[in-house]
């Protein structure tokens, strides 16, 4: 089949990962390739010229090769048709789609191009061999994604090691009050699963631990895990709270996203799994003074299960599959000075509000504004949430897309903020029916099952939904003045409210980038882990036996996260069922792919 190859780039992604010159010369030597032309980046295509070219070389097949060649396809399809050829014989060689990034860029590009010239889907030709797979699985991160994946695999009677950085499993979901759009309480649906994990005989739970190193090859990985010194014996501890009572040191509570303090020895939250305390070395007097001072908790512990001198421990795990469920962190609102977060007392982040409105939170669900308090220890005034003295806000403004959809911050959409913001509005209206509630949004992204209906319901509840992003928040005699444009009713917005909630976006979890490097898997330009194929393989990665689940692959809501986490289990269980799993894609050599593609065209 007389084939013409056109190289067209859109200029997105890591272009310089591919050496186009060598790709061009390679293409020239492929069988059937009559002509190769490099049209550069974002070419303005002249269809007539293409028609002429196709006719001149009487091409029966055209291959467009580039980072995202689809962007040029319709022009070529039209040209092909106008030239009297078969429009369906325009093939794509998409470098980005098939993971032509740094390191393997050029050779991958060549193999993708080869397949296209043969008219064979890359996925069919580039099938790696299988390798024997160890039955164990390590799941990194124990949020809802990690929990779900671990349970799905363990329920099949397979060994799972669940490694979690913090002192408890549950992740962000455990911090939430209600979940949209059904408004069932997060804890009520999550805690049974957490308990199930804690009780599961096939799950080896490693909290307060981090993955140090990963070696080995697909199907046979050795994962080195650092069990950080928890300084409390998880099994002996009965969570009697004596240690916390006597502990003199305080630090902001991570679980309550810093709106209250906890002691240096603490339990993240009452339903924590494992239900045991831990010592935060950063703030503990004993640890900081190398055992010179304090240590009172160890003395007072009725069960003597506190060992303040405990040191980190390294364990090595032999596994066949690795599941990445790292989750996310929220965008640091301090980076957007004009919203005054960290400066103005009653500007909160979404997570802070989740804790504030949470029935199990510091105010036991009472929505109040902060009150000024003199701190005797630090001898300074500070703003705190006080369930008793705190005044209920008469008006609350919720600002969408904080750190998202913004070239100056994160260009991507964080997918969940619209819905959780609407949920906040509902919670405010539910608890403070007389309070005015405003949503300032750009696009209301209510896309999921029952979401649109939920959005309609919130509007019906009397929340003012204003299209227009708030540009700044300032203070005026104790209240927060928000300034923005109300686009639909074309007015300027400039009025004071009592509380501002910033719908902060999601960012890749701390350490995700390093881990990706250590595992040899790719991340996209925003730092999210790259899936093997956006459409057909959203959970596997370039590296055999390593899968991604949940937000670490890209922002996701709970149902989508759970579905993906379960999907990951399919890959793992599949390999265990037959004792063999797929090797990395990179393991298939260019010549093999050429040969396979050639063979496939003949049949």
């Amino acid at each position: 089949m007389r084939t013409g190859v056109y190289l067209c780039q859109t200029g997105t992604g890591d272009l310089d990962a591919v050496d186009l010159h060598s790709v061009v010369s390679y293409a020239g030597n492929l069988p059937n390739v009559e002509m190769v032309k490099d049209l550069g980046t974002m070419p303005a295509l002249n269809i007539e010229a293409l028609v002429a070219e196709i006719r001149a070389n009487d091409l029966q097949r055209v291959v467009i090769a580039g980072d995202s060649p689809g962007f040029f396809k319709p022009a070529f399809t039209t040209a092909m048709r106008n030239a009297g050829g078969d429009p369906s014989e325009v093939r794509l060689a998409s470098f980005r789609q098939h993971g032509a990034s740094f390191g393997i860029g050029t050779v991958r590009a060549k193999s993708v191009l080869a397949c296209a010239t043969f008219g064979v889907p890359y996925g069919l030709a580039a099938v790696p061999d299988t390798t024997p797979t160890h039955p164990g699985t390590v799941v990194i991160g124990a949020g809802i994604a990690g929990i779900q994946a671990a349970l799905e695999i363990a329920d099949a009677g397979k060994q799972v090691f669940l490694v979690e950085r913090t002192g408890t499993i549950g992740g962000h979901m455990a911090m939430f009050d209600k979940t949209f759009p059904t408004l069932d309480c997060a804890a009520c649906i999550l805690t049974p699963k957490m308990v199930a994990v804690g009780q599961h005989e096939m799950i080896d739970l490693m909290t307060y631990a981090e993955v140090e190193e990963v070696s080995g090859s697909p199907g046979d990985y050795t994962v080195k895990v650092r069990k950080k010194a928890r300084r409390v014996d998880v099994h002996a501890c009965v969570a009697c709270n004596v240690c916390t009572e006597v502990c003199p040191q305080r630090a902001p509570s991570e679980f309550d996203s810093g709106i209250v303090e906890r002691k240096s020895i603490y339990i993240p939250f009452p339903q924590a799994v494992p239900n045991a305390y831990l010592v935060d070395g950063q703030s503990c007097t004993y640890v900081q003074s190398d055992g010179a001072k304090c240590g009172v908790c160890a003395k007072k512990c009725p069960k003597g299960c506190i060992d303040l001198d405990q040191v980190d421990e390294i364990v090595e795990l032999e596994v066949g599959n690795i599941v990445l469920a790292l989750g996310y962190d929220v965008y640091d609102a301090r980076k957007i000075e004009r919203y005054g977060y960290g400066v103005l007392p009653n500007v909160l982040t979404a997570l802070e509000f989740e804790r504030l409105t949470n029935a199990s939170g510091p105010t036991s669900g009472k929505i109040v504004t902060k009150t000024k308090r003199f701190n005797k220890r630090t001898k300074t005034d500070e703003w705190v949430f006080d369930a008793e003295d705190g005044a209920a806000p008469a008006s609350v403004a919720i600002i969408h897309c904080v750190g998202s959809r913004d070239a100056n911050h994160n260009a991507y959409c964080s997918r969940v903020c619209c819905m959780y913001s609407l949920k906040f509005a509902h919670l405010v209206k539910e608890k403070l029916p007389d309070a005015d509630c405003y949503e300032f949004y750009i696009d209301m992204r209510a896309f999921g099952k029952g979401y649109e209906e939920f959005a309609d319901r919130i509007k019906a509840e009397g929340t003012f939904v204003v299209r227009g992003r708030t540009a700044k928040v300032t203070e005026q005699d104790g209240r927060m003045v928000i300034k923005g444009e109300d686009i639909v009713s074309d007015r300027m917005v400039d009025f004071p409210v009592d509380m501002v909630i910033l719908a902060v976006g999601l960012v890749p979890a701390l350490g995700a980038a390093e881990l990706a490097l250590r595992l040899g898997i790719q991340t996209d330009t925003d730092g999210w882990f790259s899936e093997l194929d956006y459409n057909s393989d959203p959970t596997d990665t370039e590296r055999g036996g390593i899968a991604v689940a949940g937000v670490c692959q890209g922002p996701k809501d709970i149902p989508d996260t759970v579905a993906q986490a379960a999907a990951v289990a399919a890959g793992a269980l599949k390999s265990m069922a037959i004792g063999r799993g797929l090797d990395s894609r990179a393991s298939v050599s260019l010549s093999d792919i050429e040969a396979r593609a050639a063979r496939l065209t003949r049949v």
Partner: protein, 379 residues
């Protein structure tokens, strides 16, 4: 009544400098950042919208572009890099072209070559004219006195005629501006009394540029004000005190002091602006249209030669002074003849007028609203 959208306009505006307006996704961030954005004039987003949809009639009648001083805040804060500030600048250029009945302004904006050519031709004609005139009735070695190469009196007459022509051209364009923005507006009718009552706004805005002072950074406003005042001072001196300017070699401080100050003002500010545009330091200096360069270059040449003229005359180098004077005029004439009515300089007139009109219209709209609200109660 529905307005027809014209997706083609956006492409035309690209030539005027609006390269990125299509990127705008209307979050309203820019309007909220802008210190001037206040009902009924919400800017810059609304102008961006009209431009995206190509609502020509609406844009033509808009005063918003003139209410923007391009502090650049909106562009820096824009989440889509849609450059609202630059869009407003481009709209001002486009409007200048629209107001101009001769079509020359449009020509200049669309092709830098055309403008260059025009400037050169006018310069040459001016040069030739002055030389011919000079040799015809005086000697090049004589600066002042009876046999002067270019006697102040006759130059003065020339100045006045030129001024008259300029005024005529600019006047018509201003009248057209009024017609587009106020005159033909069926929704709001501004009564004559209001024009009279608010006339003070014109000189006030012209001389103080108080609105500009509202921008967050004050420095641009100061520079702009100095430049403008120096220019006006110079204009006044030339128009009314040309003889005493000419007098010498003894320095006549009562006039020359002003002259020197103004020249200094012009030189300093233009050079500062030139540097900013070259360095592209702030948002508002990043994209420069050809006309911006032409404007600055001419101004510097005029100021420099003017100063040189002054010195040469004091040093008694009459021949040099005469030659330099012709060069000076070769810059002055095109600057006045082309830049003032047809290019950037026209905004000296359009801006204060826009403020004036905007104020009048706003007042009308507010009173209208009051009636609207009041009516049912009366009934």
């Amino acid at each position: 009544m529905a307005i027809r959208a014209n997706p083609k306009l956006i492409t035309e505006l690209e030539i005027y400098g609006a390269q990125d307006v299509s990127k705008c996704y209307h979050c309203g961030n820019c309007s909220a950042t802008c210190p001037f954005s206040k009902e009924p004039y919400i800017l810059p987003r609304r102008s961006m919208r009209s431009l995206q949809m190509g609502l020509e009639a609406k844009l033509e009648s808009d005063l918003e572009p003139w209410l923007c001083y391009y502090c650049g805040e909106c562009s820096t804060e824009c989440p889509r890099d849609a450059e609202p500030g630059e869009t407003m600048m481009s709209l001002r250029r486009w409007l200048t072209a629209r107001y101009d009945f001769t079509g020359i302004a449009r020509l200049f904006y669309l092709s830098a070559k055309a403008e260059m050519l025009a400037v050169i031709i006018v310069a040459l004609i001016a040069g030739a004219g002055f030389l011919l005139y000079g040799f015809s009735q005086g000697s090049i070695t004589q600066y002042g006195g009876p046999n002067a190469f270019l006697p102040a009196s006759s130059v003065h007459i020339f100045d006045w005629t030129l001024a008259a022509v300029l005024l005529a051209l600019l006047g018509t364009n201003c009248a057209r501006m009024w017609w587009f923005t106020v005159g033909r507006d069926t929704k709001v009718h501004v009564p004559l009394s209001a024009y009279v009552r608010k006339i003070y706004l014109l000189p006030m805005h012209f001389f103080t540029q108080m609105r500009y002072a509202k921008c967050e950074q004050k420095r641009p406003w100061v520079l702009h004000l100095v430049l403008m005042l120096s220019y006006v001072t110079m204009l006044v001196l030339i128009m009314f005190f040309l003889e005493s300017m000419w007098s010498g070699p003894a320095i006549n401080w009562s006039v020359h002091a002003f002259g020197l100050a103004a020249t200094a003002g012009l030189l300093v500010t233009t050079i500062v602006f030139l540097r900013k545009r070259l360095k592209k330091s702030e948002a508002q200096y990043q994209q420069s249209h050809e006309t911006d360069w032409m404007f600055l270059v001419l101004l510097i040449v005029v100021a420099a030669t003017g100063l040189l003229q002054f010195t040469l005359h004091r040093l008694g180098l009459d021949t040099a002074a005469n030659v330099n004077y012709v060069i000076h005029m070769m810059a002055v004439v095109p600057m006045l003849l082309l830049e003032v009515p047809f290019s950037k300089w026209s905004h000296m007139a359009y801006r204060p007028l826009a403020m004036y009109f905007a104020d009048l219209k706003a007042e009308e709209m507010v009173s209208k609203e009051r009636e609207a609200v009041g009516a049912p109660q009366a009934a």
